[in-house]
Symmetry: none
Subunit: 296 residues, 2 copies
């Protein structure tokens, strides 16, 4: 049974890790890998402390609700705007889970992100999963799109490494980054947004391959077109297609509830390096082409 | 005789030539080179007005020199720091080409980019090609990496659309964006940089598909590991690999001259949507996987 659950994680080179790490570090490392491999079950989220950036957002809110069907220990929601009525609603969904809200704008400087995370770690002692879910879709706003979708995600990730990095004595951790199918192939009418999501996909694939060094595993969840307020109306780049939202919605889409269900399934699969494609009930780990190899 | 002249011109060291030939001989020499260039495949660049952002950079400088083997009409170099001795050197390479330098930091707001471009368009009347070549490689500097490599490139591209977009009565134009092989598959030790380059690749592929609306075609040139000062020493993300530069350079790399030769060949091929892979003399148009299609 154990062997069945513990499939090898291909993206991690155990042999190389063994050459460079002390036994104590290696033990931590193996535990992390074991966790990553052995956890594709619905009990995976039990008793976990989860930070969810943008957990009140369009996809975020339904994903928070889906998470609360599991008996997490803590769900710390960070979002730009407090919506007390939504936080109350979430708190009532599962009394076993402690739901907390803290305001957070991902575009603050790295030092601010670290301060906020310190508060959370001081309180909870350990955090198991960070979900980076902040995103905007408006190609009239170039700086904001890139700052929120990419820079903010990188900064939040970088900030949590202070607490998780096994090289600093941390316990490791799991990062779940929200990419988008547009990171694979763009919606050409929103090139700025699509590019920012390609950055997230590429960035996260690196994080996964650095897990043997940092102890932090990572994957992306990449929703297809989801019927959110984000998608109901948005600006295309230089208005190349004023009706882009309407055109997209003419094709099959998924509801935020469907998206949330796949989202949490992906979290439960906990596959380091996973490139999860989430669309209309499909949850598929995309295989990325190798065009080039740096050989290091 | 004509065919004989049209052979590709081998790389010629003009500075050395200048030491051995009198001006009259030198002019003859230039004319022969120019004729050879203009009658072979390289005639594409003849009489063109080209703006080259970061045309004095590591890859930029050698690419500027390679461009100057062709009889452009104007080469306007925009770079953060003026290096008058390099600009002088470039001006002397081909007296038929008017080489101009103007200071430009790609991280300025969009309005500033537009102002600068207005000056250039006022002077030249038309611009045929914009090469976006600014880039930094330092994963300690998250904001700067993303601001230069992605946001700056998007802003410069967006700024020039005021002058080129056929919907505004413009004549169209050609955008050549510098991506990187790390935009295809990352150097995991520099995830922030690699992600920013993935953004460029994805963004530019959208521009190409919008050409029927804007009149502006686009492609990326994506150099492999090139022996520049950028690569000689750089910081990995959170120092995950302090020796990343040394490790990379243990494998085959290309010189900036080799890179520049392929770079200009790619420009001459002028393929809308080209995803040019440039490494050690190889120039290949990468085929991107279709994982998903927005159907619009």
């Amino acid at each position: 049974m154990f062997a069945k659950l513990c499939r090898p994680v291909p993206s991690i080179n155990f042999r190389t890790a063994k050459c460079f790490y002390k036994p104590r570090q290696l033990n931590k490392f193996y535990n992390i890998i074991a966790r990553a491999n052995c956890s594709a079950s619905s009990s995976f989220l039990c008793d976990k402390n989860v930070i969810f950036v943008a957990g009140l957002g369009d996809i975020g809110l339904d994903t928070s609700k889906e998470l609360l069907k599991r008996d997490l220990k803590n769900l710390v929601i960070l979002d730009r705007v407090d919506k007390p009525e939504l936080v109350c609603e979430l708190k009532e969904l599962n009394p076993k889970v402690k739901v907390t809200f803290m305001p957070y704008d991902v575009t603050v400087p790295l030092a601010e992100s670290k301060k906020l995370l310190k508060k959370i770690f001081d309180k909870l002692k350990c955090v198991d999963i960070l979900i980076n879910g902040a995103g905007i879709l408006d190609d009239h706003k170039i700086e904001a799109t890139i700052a929120v979708n990419y820079t903010g995600l990188v900064n939040t990730t970088t900030a949590i490494m202070d607490f998780w990095d096994i090289r600093k004595g941390g316990p490791g951790g799991i990062i779940c980054n929200i990419g988008s199918v547009t990171g694979f192939n763009p919606i050409t009418q929103v090139p700025v947004y699509s590019g920012s999501k390609a950055a997230v996909v590429n960035f996260t694939s690196s994080l996964a391959k650095l897990a043997h060094i940092t102890g932090v595993t990572a994957y992306t969840v990449n929703p297809g077109i989801t019927r959110t307020s984000l998608v109901a109306k948005f600006n295309s780049w230089l208005d190349v297609e004023p009706d882009v939202a309407e055109l997209l919605l003419e094709h099959p889409t998924q509801s935020t509830k469907e998206c949330a269900a796949s989202f949490v399934k992906a979290i439960e699969k906990n596959k380091n390096g996973g490139l999860w494609f989430l669309d209309q009930g499909i949850l598929e780990d995309i295989k990325w082409d190798k065009h080039w190899d740096p050989c290091i």
